[in-house]
Symmetry: C2
Subunit: 200 residues, 2 copies
DNA sequence: CGCCAGGTTGAAGCGCTTCAACGTCTGTGG
DNA sequence: CCACAGACGTTGAAGCGCTTCAACCTGGCG
């Protein structure tokens, strides 16, 4: 599908920000980009399919979640405009994914294909280096999440989120934020009420 | 320091297993390897120093941990023979580390220097690709840890550890395993007792 | 021998969960 | 335009699981 110049330029800027890119390297990847539109509640990925894309969100928002034995949905990621979403583990290994990726609102995204990037990894110095830096950054995000889950209580995690990512409370429903924090929706309500009471 | 042939060969095998390596690429890195010995309770890294090495453990074992506001030590990693240990976030960014790396027993390790690897990233196709694959694998480990912390209860995490890593209980003290699981030492005792009682 | 670290135990406490009920808002169809 | 349904958030009560604290046991080591 043809992608508008303006939209693809925002992706190029993000990539350039990860690792400065010239026209030559850029032209290696553009044939392997495609644009999709999605409606609220659409599933961009569902188990046990393997994840063949990294999606760059142009508008709207998404979540990835895991369904446990008791059929609870547990959110792993919440992502919105100009951010990426994928199951990067499945993208790397091409093993079957255990995650769903679901649209939370209508929107658009540009997809980068796993096969194309993997092919570039064989020969392109730029894209190989890009993959390294991208993986490093994704790791750092994951490690920080680990540290929060290991070292902070649910209440502390909530407070930290209000400080570091106040935008989350504009973008996402509280029930999704609760799940992202690893707590139940009523618990989040109780925590919010308790903090509110302490302020007065 | 001179490193014995046999010891360095075990490192080459591990690297080869991550990404097959020839003599040419191997010779790029060997000048930047050094061997250290450490005693129990030695600190290989302490805040706020940045982490300049990836350590390949030849013998002995180590942990990385974070000290929180209440002065509790919280274990992030437990590692032993033929495994790597580092604060990979600090290694990547060269920002000050918040982690301690401590020897749990006497042992030896080979250190790979950050500056050397970073230099190779500029020019070497092999080492750049190696860095990408290593980062991908480190990410996958981190993501799986995330999922366990988010989706499983402490008791479930303990049971999973006994199933997937029974060797941990030979290698590490229970108090370190408890901290690694994100629970207190008495809690681990209670959980173990409860499981034992259920078996009878 | 005596000390100390590691592990266990029981009691009390607290924080999050679960469950069920209710209020509010939004969108939809009569 | 209003009635109603459904999704979302909140609330309170009860329960449970991990934490905390203190006491105790054991084995290893100076």
């Amino acid at each position: 599908m043809c992608i508008s110049e303006k939209k693809i330029e925002s992706l190029r800027q993000i990539i350039h920000h990860i690792l400065p890119i010239n026209d030559y390297d850029w032209n290696d990847i553009t044939p392997h980009l495609s644009q999709i539109t999605f409606k609220k509640n659409d599933l961009l990925l569902s188990p046990p399919n393997s994840c063949h894309f990294i999606a760059f969100i142009l508008s709207g928002s998404c979540r990835s979640y895991f369904i446990d034995d008791e059929l609870n949905e547990n959110n792993l990621l919440l992502r919105s405009q100009f951010e990426f979403i994928t199951d990067y583990e499945s993208f790397i290994t091409q093993d079957g994914s255990k995650l769903h990726i679901e649209a939370l609102e209508d929107g658009e995204a540009i997809l980068l294909e796993q096969k194309a990037l993997n092919k570039l990894y064989e020969s392109s110095f730029y894209w190989n280096k890009f993959g390294r830096i991208m993986s490093e950054q994704i790791f750092i995000n994951s490690k920080r999440r680990n540290e929060e889950l290991l070292f902070l209580t649910p209440t502390e995690r909530y407070i930290k989120l209000t400080e570091n990512n106040p935008d989350f409370f504009q973008k996402y429903a509280l029930k999704h934020i609760a799940s992202y924090l690893g707590i139940s929706a009523p618990s989040l309500s109780h925590i919010r009420k308790q903090i509110f009471n302490h302020l007065n």
